[in-house]
Symmetry: C2
Subunit: 199 residues, 2 copies
């Protein structure tokens, strides 16, 4: 129905998460009328993101360098490790300013339905990081939903024999929600009230 390349653009935009056919159309028409320089800037930043953004070799956080800013920062406490599912969870936790340790990004959560087991996550690398005994506490900050809970339970079982302190974020996070959508105060309280993983 649309001129060729306009339809291509609508199709590409429709692939983005949360962008339905109507939104894709709306965005495409906006871009048709937008300043060419603005559209070019968006295109360039898309290319740049894929060219420049890598993953930290230590914690798998998003990084433009071999190691991310947090792993490189000597003021961050190396004895406390917060295990999260995704990069966006690191950002959400950093926003609370409650946590001064370091992170380990699993790259997802255990989900048998989607065929994601511990082998698809950065679990082996987590165990390797614990080898030198510098880490004393692990905070399991997976999402408070089914997959996140399963992942935390799995990790607790793996970590218990190592004699570390293993904690979970306090309940208070709305169950069934996504960690990234929690407000700063709730997420901060959850940090302050974290409990032993045996409980």
């Amino acid at each position: 129905m649309y001129e060729g390349v306009v339809q291509d653009l609508i199709d590409e935009l429709g692939q983005l998460p949360g962008v339905g056919p109507k939104s894709a159309q709306r965005i495409a028409f906006h871009l048709l009328q937008a300043d060419a320089a603005d559209v070019r800037r968006l295109a360039e930043v898309l290319i740049e993101v894929k060219a420049r953004v890598k993953f930290c070799s230590v914690c798998f956080n998003v990084s433009e360098d071999e190691q991310c800013r947090i792993c490189r920062d000597p003021r961050r406490d190396p004895s406390v490790l917060c295990v999260v599912e995704e990069y966006k969870d690191v950002v959400a936790i950093e926003r609370t300013r409650e946590f001064r340790g370091r992170y380990h990004v699993l790259g997802g959560a255990i989900s048998p339905i989607e065929g994601i087991g511990p082998e698809q996550l950065h679990v082996t690398e987590l165990m390797t990081r614990l080898a030198d005994g510098a880490i004393e506490e692990i905070i399991l900050a997976t999402d408070p939903n089914l997959e996140g809970e399963a992942t935390a339970t799995y990790l607790t079982r793996m970590l218990r024999p190592l004699g570390l302190r293993v904690t979970r974020l306090a309940s208070g996070l709305p169950v069934g929600g996504d960690l990234e959508y929690a407000d700063e105060v709730t997420l901060g309280r959850a940090f302050a009230g974290r409990r032993s993983a045996d409980a």
Copy 2:
């Protein structure tokens, strides 16, 4: 809070219509994890759209050529002209397959609040198209809102002296809807515009 270029991407995405900060973040994280080839294709189509898409020199519809497909199509009735606000209205009307004439895209509607008067729209070009007398009917298909109604009223006044047939789209109940949910104005218009049940 985010690594530089990731924040740039979120900022750029947040400029798009209907994309709030949370959606921008969500799309950005999706793109971070997406296949580089997919992201490149999106970037390329953005560049291509701005390079290839022009506006038809006759009707101001979106076109990849000097004249759009509809203006070039000899099977379209040259005696009936449908005046719309935007390109997307052309697409919506084409989808109905009810109209076999040609279009004129104004490029918006009269809106004093936004500083849009007839001079900002393709009104002069519309009058020029009428000069040769080939057009016998003009259908004013502006949006049924304040700005659209104002535009249609203005155009009716401009066109009346030319002795053309000037029509408006019928107002009434949307097909497939419930009468009880129709707003008063729509229901009032449906009454005013009632037609013989034999038709």
